[in-house]
Symmetry: C2
Subunit: 146 residues, 2 copies
């Protein structure tokens, strides 16, 4: 059995800011949904592009969302995960949209109409690492400057 250790708020935020893909969960009338998404962190918020007609665009706007990123090394039995929770809103302010586009040139992997920018200002940010004696932040692949 491998020890699980809580990550510090600073570690959580650095891991969150370093990522490009995660999963978002939302509640809908027919139960929870989960979807893999590309994302960016702009200021103290996660920004996701989606279609206004998607499940996320329909039931995930103006509601509580949960967002998760993780990385697991199955060979070495170690890994980490970070979960952010908070209320979402749709970014409509032109200056704010400009700021998001400047900070993050969005590259959703999948094609489609993703005209809606959904922002999750987290009110909870928690994380854990499995296995001791290593630093998840230092072990990040170089994909984007932390």
């Amino acid at each position: 059995m491998h020890e699980a250790i809580d990550l510090s708020p600073d570690q959580c935020e650095r891991l969150l800011r370093a990522g490009v893909a995660g999963r978002v969960a939302l509640s809908s009338p027919d139960g929870p949904h989960i979807a893999p998404v590309n994302y960016s962190v702009v200021g103290p918020a996660i920004v996701i592009r989606t279609s206004p007609y998607s499940v996320l665009g329909t039931y995930g706007r103006g509601s509580m969302l949960a967002f998760e990123v993780d990385q697991f090394d199955h060979d070495r039995w170690r890994g980490w995960s970070v979960v952010a929770r908070g209320r979402s809103d749709v970014v409509t302010d032109p200056l704010e949209l400009e700021r998001i586009r400047t900070t993050w040139e969005p590259h959703p992997w999948a094609a489609g109409n993703r005209s809606m920018y959904l922002r999750l200002r987290w009110s909870e940010l928690t994380g854990r690492q499995i296995g001791t004696g290593w630093d998840p932040v230092a072990s990040l692949p170089v994909r984007r400057a932390v």
Copy 2:
């Protein structure tokens, strides 16, 4: 922009059965939650071990759950994801528990009291791959026989 293609039900099930770690989402009175979990597929159901006192054990029993596995190759801009949704129940039948333990010697990564076996019999199973010209099932790492 990279093309997204729906996976067949057979591909979804093979990818799901080949995995060992995913994320489960549930709805709670204060909104959705998401948690990384180890899992196994036993018969036509996903089995997750959890603590009866966890958020999952409290709000995820006898309710709709969404479960996701994915794999992304950021260098090659390709990947896949599979989402299973359905109602959960707690496995209490001794014969069924024996079957689960025989099929899957459970190794949750994180320590803790995980005495509850939660079963998700999926009623929806969908998946997508990003990028054409490759087969996600054939590209699985060898971790468990498919």
